[in-house]
Symmetry: C2
Subunit: 239 residues, 2 copies
Amino acid sequence: MVVKSELKLIKSLQQKKCRIEHGLFVIEGKKTLEEVVKSQMRPYKLFAVDPSNLDIGGHEVTQVGARELSQMSSLKNPNGYLGVFYIPEKVEKIASDWVLVLDGVQDPGNLGTIIRLCDWFGINDIVCSNDTVDCYNPKVLQATMGSITRVNIQYRSLSTFLGSTELPIYGTFMDGDNVNTITLPKKGILIMGNEGKGVSSTVAELCTDRLAIPQFGEQTTESLNVASATAILLHEIRK
Amino acid sequence: MVVKSELKLIKSLQQKKCRIEHGLFVIEGKKTLEEVVKSQMRPYKLFAVDPSNLDIGGHEVTQVGARELSQMSSLKNPNGYLGVFYIPEKVEKIASDWVLVLDGVQDPGNLGTIIRLCDWFGINDIVCSNDTVDCYNPKVLQATMGSITRVNIQYRSLSTFLGSTELPIYGTFMDGDNVNTITLPKKGILIMGNEGKGVSSTVAELCTDRLAIPQFGEQTTESLNVASATAILLHEIRK
């Protein structure tokens, strides 16, 4: 049994302003929930239709009915498990050799896929412009599959961040230099731009190098999806 | 003005069985619609809230109200343009040097992204197992951004197709050989598997080579998203 006010609070966390106000976010799904509980993320409350199925150590789980769960869930078809967690404190320190910078990425699925890619390729730090989609958005979290616990994501002014670094700054542009002909250094910053508009002009001016992924055959498709392009460039960085 | 029976027909095309029954599918959005009309795809009927904005040569466009359009649309927020097209006839011939084979890919967004990748990298042929998501699914078409007109997509038994080819068959597996250490030939078949289960055992037996994309750092993430992995492998094939 969950009280009405709590159902309302949890439902409200689908909106960014409510997540910020309460400092909480929601994870759904058994596997991701188990992964996040085992990380350093601090649970506020956990709910399950069948708690006995959940492998999460000593944490308390509230049993709920399927109807109650669907009232809290952001999914069309809730899957029986939902956890509310505290948004971790901001860490401004950069720990990884390469940093991925996102300049206005809007699609939650793209951000989720990019976080998962960073986890795969050992990129610990993502720095997002303030207008990039929120990483605690339910659709982002659905696409990250637990990788959110292993990648440090910051939101800040890119001009300030890029203005204060000594690292080479690689921007991605349609007319940049062919990545296949370039030797990438051991440390650096890679910038991926907005789905439609690419890297903004303010940020473009701060780039020390311009990269492109060569197209093959006729010039027909307009562009690669930003998550596909990130996959290829992180693979090149790690080769 | 659109008659009720036609609204009902178009709405029904969101389902695969109705698309097959009528041999029709739906494209939404101004830019994609303009691109598809200019291709070899044959329009059945085109609708727009404001036809004067549409650049589609001599084709007839029916003006509709926003409410009528939303009754036909599969989108939460329809964008004012909708076209119904004839599903093209099957072409079983293989025209490209490399062929991408999809073994049970389920997510429409993944298939859409993969079609767009094939267009970018000049892979003309995709052969899908019969249990791969339908390429005329509205969510697939939303992610392809018009690339559907430039890539030939076939659905057939993979055992039959792979059993009859002389080309080397590269399957993608978690424990395959590091793609960075392999020289890929000029012609071949690349197989990508289902999101959760990977390449099926029947298909795995027909592979002549096994590929993997190396992970960097700790073995934490379970796997790369299938569209991300396809991006990296097609990039390697075309280098």
